[in-house]
Symmetry: C2
Subunit: 112 residues, 2 copies
Amino acid sequence: MKRDLDHVFAALADPTRRSILTMLLEDDMAVTDVAEPFEMSLAAISKHLGVLTSAGLISQEKRGRVKWCKLEPDALKETSVWMQGFGQFEPVHLDAFERFLKNELQIPGEID
Amino acid sequence: MKRDLDHVFAALADPTRRSILTMLLEDDMAVTDVAEPFEMSLAAISKHLGVLTSAGLISQEKRGRVKWCKLEPDALKETSVWMQGFGQFEPVHLDAFERFLKNELQIPGEID
DNA sequence: CCATTATTCAACCAATTGGTTGATTTTCAA
DNA sequence: TTGAAAATCAACCAATTGGTTGAATAATGG
């Protein structure tokens, strides 16, 4: 369904949300810890996590009073299929991804 | 530069714009012809094409009084690299893409 | 029990988005 | 040369977005 692509792409269009995904690539995190490197309020991060969740890019599970955020990489699969159709891109390895992260995304806090 | 990803993803988040990209996969088109299957005004489509252009996803070249729109698939490459880092997706063939198009994107007009 | 921590909710705000209509500009063709 | 076609511009509008603050809820630990 088209809606999914709408939501996934819209979720990915924000640099804060992409940074969050990058952080979650390392490990699952609690909401407060996700928020820590950013300069905005906890409520703002909570909203961002809501957007990522409803796009299916992450899942959130509450254990005790802590809500854990977990990356759901499968949500990107359909999206990836869509995009690859336009370029017949050669498959990319994690190497290329990590180079990309180094160059183009800096660790949160400083958003440019 | 992070800005590029912002713009590319934001451009892709709209179903009208994704339909336009799909149409341009077939062949280059004039603005009027791009607009024809949609129910919205020409001016609206012109704006969408502007968004796609400034995201680098298409280019526009004016010949005479006709402005031709051309897909620029390389703009998706960087984006594809970013996404693949999250899933180590196996490479996808055009087959899969065409199946996907059949199932998930209908030809413009009916955006439902 | 009570203060504290984790998170969300609610109301609000400014900026952006996706659309409209009507006027303009540029180019073609009869 | 003049009228129609191709496309954009400009002003406007409603809805959405990304942020804020302050209050509310829920679970923890001393």
